[in-house]
């Protein structure tokens, strides 16, 4: 019996011993240095105080700190990783090494520049996991700052947690009218992304009305995003004399969109709006091509704004509209940002909507820390809420809602509505910020 027991337990013991040896060995190999790069200075010229050379006596009097630890719960796996990996992730992965290459962020309280170290957990696209990880970051890891989770519904869960612990939260992917309504009670939350009534759909309505569009058909995804966008479109378009001739919701897992496109085609609207995600916008585009549905304006978003949309369909999508923020022609700073983010990379990585806003949000965060001269959340929150700061967008500020949190001021948005024109996703609205003339009616889908 004893021989049998030893026979069974021996391999297990060997395995455990090996694991015990291997894991600390790996940990020793770990070097807690922030990502480094030899890239030049950041595009953003955030408020930059000159770094005084800290004398030994001065250093001794100041509190000590070697780095700013920023915690994030991100969807590194699961369905939301599609969005996370193409939206905020390339921004922080580019922005942080560039700031660290300059030595970090100057914090007067410590009399030196502090590099940023990221602590990222995978929430596996699960909102419950994300909330647990957010609390872990704040309570157990005691990170200095919190950066956002991915997606509007995740922000609904994360914003109150950040606010409860008085952690400044500048959001990235996600934004909603209903989130805006919560901001008066969330003074530590600042939303960076543009969204339906902030100020995309009103701009679209203006554009279409100016060209004489009279009718529109709306297909929207049956979730918070679709309901909000279709709701705002249902108000804004009729205000400008555009009749909604048909409206249909689709589930996220819909396979065949032909009944909807056929219905829309039969109603012959001037504009077709697919207010859904890439999963639905891409088949809607393909089905419109297959069924030769050629409205004068075809808008899909989010989805059309991504480089992978253009690589999937090529020149066939000339004239297709989507939500956007910028184009290379928007400003020299934004052109430089586009070069930093996209040059030498596949077109699939391009996102003409969110990227500059996320970059500007990080610029604002850095500028606010430098201006506050401390890592105190309240001081930084007050600067974000009250001051204009210099970012990649130029002069940038948050519009405070009901004395609480804020939205990145719509005046700072370099654009709202984009259109594929000669292979470039140009800004066509608002007109005063357009980088190209709005093409209406759009060219028909090419016949193959």
């Amino acid at each position: 019996m004893w021989r049998k027991a030893i026979g069974y337990s021996l391999p297990v013991i060997i395995c455990l011993l090996l694991l015990l040896i291997a894991i600390p060995g790996c940990q020793q190999a770990a070097t807690p240095t922030a990502p480094k790069t030899t890239a030049p200075a950041t595009v953003a010229t955030a408020t930059k105080p000159t770094t005084p050379a800290a004398s030994p006596s001065a250093t001794a009097a100041k509190p000590t700190k070697d780095k700013i630890i920023v915690g994030m719960s991100r969807p590194l796996s699961g369905p939301l990783s599609v969005i996370g990996d193409s939206a905020f992730r390339p921004i922080y992965e580019t922005w942080v090494p560039r700031v660290n290459a300059e030595g970090g962020i100057y914090v007067k309280e410590y009399g030196k520049k502090l590099p940023i170290e990221l602590k990222i957990y995978d929430d596996k696209s699960d909102v419950g996991t994300m909330t647990r990880l957010t609390e872990k970051l704040i309570l157990e890891d005691k990170v200095d700052f919190l950066w956002p989770a991915c997606g509007t519904s995740f922000l609904f869960a994360q914003a109150p947690i950040a606010n409860k612990y008085n952690y400044v939260l500048i959001t990235a992917e996600g934004g909603a009218t209903s989130l805006k309504d919560m901001l008066p009670s969330l003074p530590y939350v600042f939303v960076s992304l543009s969204f339906s009534d902030w100020y995309e759909v009103p701009v679209l309505a203006d554009l279409l009305a100016a060209k004489g569009a009279k009718t529109a058909y709306i297909m929207y995804i049956a979730d918070l995003h679709g309901i909000e966008y279709s709701g705002v479109a249902g108000i804004e378009l009729p205000k400008k004399g555009i009749n909604i001739v048909g409206i249909k919701s689709v589930p996220p897992d819909i396979k065949d969109l032909s009944p909807i496109i056929k219905e829309a085609k039969a109603l012959n609207p001037d504009a077709f709006l697919a207010l859904a995600y890439p999963d639905q916008v891409m088949p809607a585009t393909a089905t419109s091509m297959e069924l030769d549905f050629n409205p004068k304006a075809w808008l899909g978003g989010p989805g059309v704004n991504f480089g992978f949309y253009h690589t999937a369909f090529g020149p066939a999508v000339e004239g297709v509209l989507g939500w956007t923020t910028f184009a290379r022609k928007s400003s020299p700073k934004l052109a430089e940002l586009a070069d930093i983010l996209y040059s030498g990379k596949p077109e699939e990585t391009n996102d003409w909507w969110g990227h500059p806003l996320y970059w500007a949000a990080l610029d604002m965060w850095k500028a606010a820390i430098e201006k506050a001269g401390t890592l105190n959340q309240k001081a930084i929150r007050d600067i974000l809420a009250t001051e204009h700061l210099e970012t990649v967008l130029g002069d940038t500020w948050f519009t405070i809602i009901g004395g609480g949190g804020g939205l990145l001021a719509k005046e700072c948005h370099p654009g709202e509505v984009g259109q594929w024109i000669n292979g470039v996703f140009e800004v066509v609205g608002p007109v005063d910020k357009a980088t190209a003339q709005f093409v209406y009616p759009k060219p028909p889908w090419p016949k193959k």
Partner: protein, 350 residues
């Protein structure tokens, strides 16, 4: 009115063709190989993503990709069955199996630790360490514990549950490998996206091509099962594996063949799906669910049943979508539930 009816019916057939192909593969794997393969959708994903790469990078026509992806997924499925599933049929693992599983497990642990910043080590160095640990463990287990146990075949029920659990693991492994290789982005390409009019109703040329291939492959497979010697062996194995073995059928070979064929059909379905819909590394599970519904609808293990079930579900989905697209999936589950109450064995189940 007539055009609308035609519209809905043909749209249903177009969707149903794909469903039938997906379900036939799963039906074969479950009906004969007795593997309730939860990772079935991942083979569809592999077919779809591989076709996208072949088309966009190597400019290979997706129709030619069928003859590339089909055999590759067949070989993959065959090897998986001959190694992992075969040894779930018996009580003993073979030397090498523990090595692979343990390496994957340890490497996953390492990646989790790396994600949480507990470890920072080159991935390949970590893989090498994991491999060495796994080989030592495998050797130790084979020399000690497994040496004392005699090989015996496990009961059918035990195999069904263990193989299903294993296929869950397989699903995660394939999906994560695809994530590493292709990333999580949604991808698509344009192929035969031009309208074709049938009695006034418009359809995409690519969808008609997928329907044609689905029917062709379905019929070819049916004739393979009914008219060939291997087909007869497969049917015998499905009917009674023990007796089939006594009659001289190499049962392990047949089971692996069935699993491989099921994987090949999934791979081909993936190729056809990528011609009409966007694909991504995360798409597998939704097609697995559809396949399960169709297999239950057609009758567990019945290949013609799955073929009919696929088209039935496609037409039902199309009719419901015509009135309210949001209710299509609800209708699938409603039919599924109704069938379980009225005819639990499915349309052609025995």
């Amino acid at each position: 009115m007539l055009t609308s009816i035609l519209d809905v019916l043909i749209a249903g057939l177009l969707l149903g063709g794909l469903y039938a192909l997906i379900a036939m593969g799963l039906s074969l794997q479950y009906g004969v190989a007795r593997v309730f393969n939860i990772s079935h959708g991942e083979f569809i994903m592999l077919g779809g993503m591989a076709t996208l790469t072949l088309f966009t990078v190597f400019k290979i026509n997706p129709l030619i990709a069928i003859v590339i992806c089909g055999p590759i997924t067949f070989v993959l499925g065959y090897i998986i069955h001959r190694t992992f599933f075969r040894h779930l049929l018996t009580s003993l693992p073979i030397f090498g199996e523990i090595t692979i599983l343990c390496t994957l497990f340890l490497w996953t642990v390492f990646r989790i630790l790396a994600d949480y910043n507990y470890v920072r080590l080159n991935q390949f160095a970590a893989l090498a360490i994991c491999l060495v640990i796994a080989i030592i463990l495998d050797f130790a287990l084979n020399r000690t514990a497994f040496r004392r146990i005699h090989e015996s075949r496990v009961a059918a029920g035990v195999f069904e549950s263990t193989s299903m659990l294993f296929s869950f693991g397989l699903m995660f492994i394939i999906k994560n490998i695809a994530f590493i290789g292709w990333g999580p982005s949604i991808r698509s390409y344009s192929f035969l996206q031009q309208p074709v009019s049938i009695a006034g109703a418009l359809f995409g040329m690519n969808r008609l091509v997928t329907l044609g291939f689905s029917i062709l492959i379905g019929l070819a497979f049916y004739f393979f099962l009914t008219r060939t010697r291997i087909g007869k062996a497969i049917r015998a194995a499905a009917s009674d594996p023990t007796v089939a073995q006594l009659m001289g059928v190499n049962i392990n070979q047949v089971l692996a063949l069935c699993f491989g064929l099921g994987a090949a059909m999934a791979g081909i379905a993936g190729v056809l799906i990528s011609m009409c819909y966007p694909v991504n590394a995360n798409m597998g599970i939704e097609y697995t669910i559809i396949a399960i519904i169709v297999v239950a609808l057609g009758g567990l293990g019945s290949i013609p049943g799955s073929f009919i079930g696929g088209f039935a579900l496609g037409i039902i989905g199309s009719i419901v979508s015509f009135f309210e697209p949001g209710l299509a999936l609800v209708a699938y589950y409603f039919i599924f539930g109704l069938l379980l109450l009225i005819r639990p064995k499915g349309i052609l189940g025995k």
